[in-house]
Symmetry: C2
Subunit: 201 residues, 2 copies
Amino acid sequence: MSTVDRAERVPKQDRSRATRQRLLEAAVACLAEHGWAGSTVSVVAERAGVSRGAAQHHFPTREDLFTAAVEYVAEERSTALRALFPDGSRAADRREVVAALVDLYTGPLFRAALHLWVAASNEEQLGGRVTELEARVGRETHRIAVELLGADEARPGVRETVQGLLDMARGLGLANLLTDDTARRDRVVTQWARLLDGVLG
Amino acid sequence: MSTVDRAERVPKQDRSRATRQRLLEAAVACLAEHGWAGSTVSVVAERAGVSRGAAQHHFPTREDLFTAAVEYVAEERSTALRALFPDGSRAADRREVVAALVDLYTGPLFRAALHLWVAASNEEQLGGRVTELEARVGRETHRIAVELLGADEARPGVRETVQGLLDMARGLGLANLLTDDTARRDRVVTQWARLLDGVLG
């Protein structure tokens, strides 16, 4: 490869990566705002300022685009969550850790994922993909929760306690879908963080 | 009114009530199976074996039919839940009470309500109706939970504990949407029923 070729190739890869990222972010925003029925590859391409052809080069099918988008944003959020507590867990932070975990389920990502989830429950083609995706994202979130809460899963009941907490977080996200549930949610988070202190020590 | 008129009128009212009930049950089943996009008054009327005109006599709009359906089935389920524990709460029943509360969110009713909820988040006309409906159903479920758990809401934290439990139940319902989550859910229910014993006494 000549020096000139190499010089041209790197920016091209960068451009490709940037295009992909713009498509993924546009896809999540689109799902959150318009739901599955209103989210097509064309709509997302237009929102991202990318041609339909370029979008299809990155994501051959609609299912590819939207499952990749939810996974990408979930990873971004996991990274951001870990970054909030760079020194790992301290019991004193427990309420903040619970609040941050719950926050994962109250923004546009959860809204987008929920639309995908619900659509997948009626569309076979999407169903398998989303089930796999949710299992992966769910395992990763559980791992982060255990780490940040300083939970010792070797102790009986601890694993189920953390799982129940994440189920509660999902339920709180659902309760926030139609109305701003912030005030009630804050009180529930405070109380459940207190309950966790009793179990996790 | 002649005796003959009266005799004819009563069965007519009964027939009307039975038609209404068939429509409501068909509407919930339809929402659960096909989602909001696939649920129209015509589809429900056909499923219920009722003419489209008769359906529209009972429910002038699609929003009327589906919000009434979710409310009707929610009331049926609340009644059934109270009937499971006719003598009210006993601490010994706590795990069973938690399991029964969680069960409210794992069947076709929750699936139907979820479709309605998600559709309402993108459709303004539906949004107001569903927000009101959810507030009513949510208050009633909270009341039953407090009663069956024997929770004393005058004590600090108890109200938020019960709220968090119902949020967890909703989250467990969501986790059951795409896969059969029964085994995991049973373990979470067992553990959180134990934790509740500590708080509720």
